[in-house]
Amino acid sequence: MYPDERGYFGRYGGRFVPETLIPALMETEQAYRELAGDEKFRQELQLYLKDYAGRESPLYFASRLSENAGKARIFLKREDLNHTGSHKINNTLGQALLARKMGKKRLIAETGAGQHGVATATAAAVFGLECTVYMGSKDMERQRLNVFRMQMLGAEVRGVKKGSETLKDATNEAFRDFIRSFEYSHMVIGSVVGPHPYPMMVRDFQAVIGRELRRQFQEQEGGLPDCIIACVGGGSNAMGIFYPFLEDPVKLLGVEAGGCGTAPGQHCATLSRGNDGVLHGAFSRLLQDEYGQVMDTHSISAGLDYPGVGPEHASLRERGRVDYVQVSDREALDAFMQLCRMEGIIPALESAHAVAYALKIAAALEEEKSLVINLSGRGDKDVEEVARLLGGVGSEN
């Protein structure tokens, strides 16, 4: 059963943080293990997921998209319909309950696209906790709407104008805050990254996506889907939907952001193009130069714009259980528009990467297969950016 006691998934994972933080991580791990086995906690989380976040999220058969794409039957797991607009709420509700159990008064979060920041600010509001969110100043510009949302929810948003001014640097800053304040604060990491126990804990909270899908698919179609496709930045929505299917004959595909080219700095395809390294507390795969300096990355989608990836993904890649592929900015934009026009759903640019790859597969299929896309978030936050990129809302792509 992964991870092992030291937080390793095969050779990936572990805890690579200053000694100062080790006691806080041990405390978090112990509290989490106690809660995970506690029926009352599970019921309370279940209640919040259902009555507050709106779970379960529907499994929708996208008939027009399917018809247009080729031979595939394409299904969308509608995480975009969750409260706050993405899968992130599954994790933040769980971690906020954990923080409360540990007696912590304050939540700290890092955010790229702002979806995790909003979901953390939301959980903080509903449980009466303080909240500080770190966000790269470049991301604050391209995801302004989410900055306002966090502020309205009562969170303090601290802009990070250092290094690449994106998620990576916001994460450094959140860690620094955590190191200073862990006696009264809990750091709500938003993806399956970071030191043990975070990759395990976030995966477990997100695995609700895959468990629901399993039951829904069985009821609606019978059996298992042929293939599940999810975008991968840090990898939480992918891990959440893949995890309950790891032992099944289901093809699993993680789609990374291929950005605008293959040169360093033009993409963030960590699993496709990176190598072994340590960032933000875990030994995983990493985009870096030959001297181990972490590279700047690029993606049209702020949520995927990150040079690292969760250690369990690194392990799944090495074991060959999941295939990791790339989709360019352009392809993601095209898929974004197709989903808008074909299905009346505006997806997050992150999720549009998964849609784009599904369309590629569908076009190449010779016999009918069922594909499930994890539609991890909705695209309201991206509307302004996409309009800018397409040169105005009215224009055709």
Binding site: G14, F16, P18, E19, T20, V278, L279, G281, L286
Partner: protein, 272 residues
């Protein structure tokens, strides 16, 4: 040939251990200066290091700029980013260490995050440390459980402890029989801030009861009075951010900078 082989396998850290012994005999506290390699530039940095030696500094901790220095506070972090922008990395940091070794007598401790070491490869890293005259290594993002990743190369590893460290963590550090233990003095990152004195003293005594290694107190030490306050409990202090601030303040007047650093060192050393 044999001699070369012997030199190659010499265990590092001897100079550091000797320095602690001398200081103990003299009943002096060790003054350990942290300085970022080759920032603002190589020559000025070397001058600063010579000034620190003149001012009575006992050991030098040389930082290697890294893109994501999450254990460091604002001031040192700025130095990391400046170094990275100038193209500094572990290889160039080690080249610079060799220049430092030739320019002064201070035993040299290399401070590097783990990822650059991982990319270089442990064999090459250990070999290059030896040839650059590096005596010991501090890796701020390798906690005690992971220090074993650097074992087996004869490197002298300096473990870190924090006020939050439990007794079992303190014992883990003691079992390494290190040249000294780096005791982080605050629940936080590097930087300037005052310390809850009694709490720090209790914590140092807790470590002292378990380990015979010298204890160096670091993170948040900036004033001579602080050095004096911990004279009974600590064997040395690490000064980092306070020096970095002086460098930032005076780098535009490079003729003044070494003298000011030297005086600051003297003031700190006087009270130790």
């Amino acid at each position: 040939m044999w001699k070369k082989w012997l030199v190659c396998w010499e265990v590092l850290g001897v100079k550091i251990r000797n320095r602690w012994d001398e200081l103990k005999k003299k009943e002096e506290m060790a003054l350990i200066a942290f300085i970022m390699a080759a920032v603002p530039d190589e020559d000025l940095c070397l001058e600063c290091i010579r000034a620190l030696e003149q001012g009575g500094c006992d050991l030098l901790e040389l930082g290697v700029p890294f893109t994501d220095p999450l254990a460091d506070g604002e001031v040192i972090e700025r130095f990391h980013h400046r170094g990275v922008r100038r193209g500094l990395n572990l290889k160039r940091g080690l080249d610079f260490a060799a220049r430092v070794r030739d320019a002064c007598q201070l035993p040299l401790i290399l401070f590097s995050y783990y990822n650059p070491i991982l990319q270089m490869g442990l064999d090459k890293f250990a070999g290059d440390c030896r040839s650059a005259g590096v005596e010991a290594v501090i890796v701020p993002d390798l906690p005690l459980d992971e220090l074993g990743r650097l074992a087996g190369q004869g490197l002298e590893l300096i473990p870190m402890l924090a006020p939050s460290s439990t007794l079992s963590r303190v014992q883990m550090a003691a079992e390494l029989d290190p040249a000294f233990i780096y005791c982080v003095s605050v629940r936080g990152v590097t930087g300037l801030r005052s310390l809850p004195e009694m709490e720090i003293k209790d914590y140092l005594q807790k470590v002292r009861r378990v380990s015979t290694a010298p204890l160096a107190l670091g993170f948040g030490i900036s004033q001579p009075e602080q050095v004096r306050a911990f004279r009974e409990q600590a064997d040395g202090v690490v000064i980092g951010s306070a020096l970095a601030q002086i460098i930032e303040e005076y780098e535009s007047r490079p003729a003044l900078l070494p003298g000011i650093l030297e005086k600051r060192c003297q003031a700190l050393k006087l009270l130790s």
